[in-house]
Amino acid sequence: MTLTLENITKTVGGVTHIDDVSMTLEPGSFNVLLGRTLAGKTTLMRIMAGLEPPSSGHILVNGSNVTGQRVQQRKVAMVYQQFINYPSMTVYDNIASPLKLQGTAKAEIDKRVRSTAELMHIEHLLDRLPQELSGGQQQRTAMARAMVKDCTLLLLDEPLVNLDYKLREELREEIPNLLAERDTIVVYATTEPMEALLLGGKCAVMHEGRVTQFGPTTRVFHNPATVETGLIFSDPPINLIGARVSNGALELASDHKVALSGHFADLQEGNYTIGVRANHLSVVNPGPGAIAMQGHVELAEITGSETFVHVHFSDVSWVIQEEGVHNPTLGETSTFYLDPSRLFVFDARNRLVAAPPVEIANGKAA
């Protein structure tokens, strides 16, 4: 099944929730909807499912219009951020309920419920009620119920957000494998760039109700089409600074000069915005070619294996992500290093004009 959204717009009480979204989801594809909270991810999924009608626009399945069709008639499944199960039914009945409603034969139901439960590692919990399970098990039940029927569209709305770290990692690793051999279109909403990258597939970045970019996840990551996309698809958000190309050199607002070579070679004269990811900055000199910069240290967050140093200079605040534990003195000026080969360049209209080649972006040191 191919799902096509054509100029979907949703306004509620004069407020635009979804603004002219058009996209085509291929059969069997894994699609990540990445955006901050309130970006419209959930609304878009609800429209895809048929739970809400769009204010304008069409939803096509294999080319035929299903916009007004009731949700019961569409072959969709959905897993919510909250753990939604039928509290009065056992886990077995929960998973079996979509099949029962389809009129599947009893033996077939039993077989499929058990195999799906096994897949989700809840086969020993089938006789329990949902509230007797842990959060992770409840969400596994919800996912099993969504996966047991032959749906053509599986919507996962931040399914791992309410789980603790360990369970989240565990399920996140399993999800792509669970869905790999199915013909189902999977749409997975998340706010975390890291989750999008781990899940792979294709990625649609959403901002204020618009899809700013849609493409293979790694390509979107390495080529954020706009500054907004870069900010969303980067954690911590991408660091920005104004820049100008004149006299054959790229001059940052902080008065640092970069030669117009490598991926900068084709830049025309004019004003630009430079973006650099926090992990591409360093507090230790990574080698020749790096530009030394000075910043006022505002905050240092130490997670144990990494240090996030917040620096302020030339009216901008940047975050430096560095491996290992570093203890810069707060309030003092500190030196950090910028690798010019890893800069994103956006034009005056905030659109990407130059991105570092993928090999360089993936490499660790300059």
Binding site: Q72, A77, Y80, P98, L101, K149
Partner: protein, 267 residues
């Protein structure tokens, strides 16, 4: 020491609460001579004659039957009407929903006596006077708003996503409502039924005015007996005890639900 003090206070409290009920029961197993003759804490000659009178005399026991019939009808109607209404209030936004919800409640703000005359006139003219359904319908005016209000609170506690998940799974609305939603708000339905029962069971004014013979409720029978056959204290007390019994039974069954309802802040 502190523990003991608290004990005493509680005992005194319960004693005061139970004293009238005990006195009623005490009277019901005494003879009229003893009731009027002297004050005794325990009956000298306990007798069940008063109860026998009530349970054998149709003028008495038909009152209980009538009351139970119209109370049951009322509870059923209230719930059937209030369940979909409460669902609409809790799940949908429609023009004027807040106003309508408030307007429903205002029906309970007027004393029942206000509606006495219109009901009497209306039911007489359409031939509903002295029927069970007449009293049941009249009580709906007070019970439906209350039922909608209580049920709405319970329903709003159920996440909307459960409804949606059910639709996605393929449930039609009626099937979802009956097999998934109703079990989730069981306690709410219990509490609502209890309150409807209680109001309808103890309500005297409307029930007495809208009936004469065929649907005469027990509360009316009791008040009329006072003037009709002199003062048969013992029988009257026995009738009182028997009137308490159904209420006590219902409270016993829904006591856990009511605690839950209080916790949810809607009762």
């Amino acid at each position: 020491m502190k523990f003991q003090k608290r004990h005493i206070a509680l005992l005194v409290y319960i004693l005061f609460l139970l004293l009238p009920i005990y006195w009623l029961f005490n009277m019901s197993i005494k003879t009229n001579t003893e009731i009027l003759g002297s004050m005794t804490l325990f009956p000298d000659n306990p007798t069940l004659a008063n109860y026998a009178t009530i349970l054998t005399d149709p003028a008495w026991y038909s009152g209980y039957i009538n009351s139970m019939i119209y109370v049951s009808i009322n509870v059923v109607i209230s719930l059937t009407v209030a369940l979909p209404a409460a669902y609409a209030f809790s799940r949908f936004n429609f023009t004027g929903d807040k106003h309508l919800f408030f307007w429903l409640l205002t029906n309970r703000m007027a004393p029942p006596a206000v509606f006495l005359l219109p009901f009497f006139q209306l039911y007489s003219s359409v031939g509903l006077f002295d029927t069970h359904i007449a009293v049941a319908l009249a009580h709906c005016l007070f019970n439906v708003p209350l039922a909608v209000w209580i049920l709405e609170g319970f329903m709003s506690g159920i996440p909307k996503e459960i409804d949606e998940t059910a639709y996605i799974d393929g449930y039609s609305f009626p099937r979802f409502f009956a097999t998934i939603f109703i079990p989730l708000i069981r306690s709410g339905i219990g509490v609502t039924a209890f309150f409807c029962f209680m109001f309808s069971w103890v309500e005297l004014l409307l029930a007495r005015t809208l009936t004469s013979v065929d649907a005469k409720p027990i509360v009316a029978t009791m008040t009329r007996t006072v003037s009709a056959s002199g003062l048969d204290w013992g029988v009257l007390a026995a009738a009182g005890v028997l009137t308490i019994v159904p209420g006590a039974l219902v409270i016993w069954f829904v006591r856990n639900y009511i605690a839950k309802g209080f916790a949810m802040g809607r009762v």
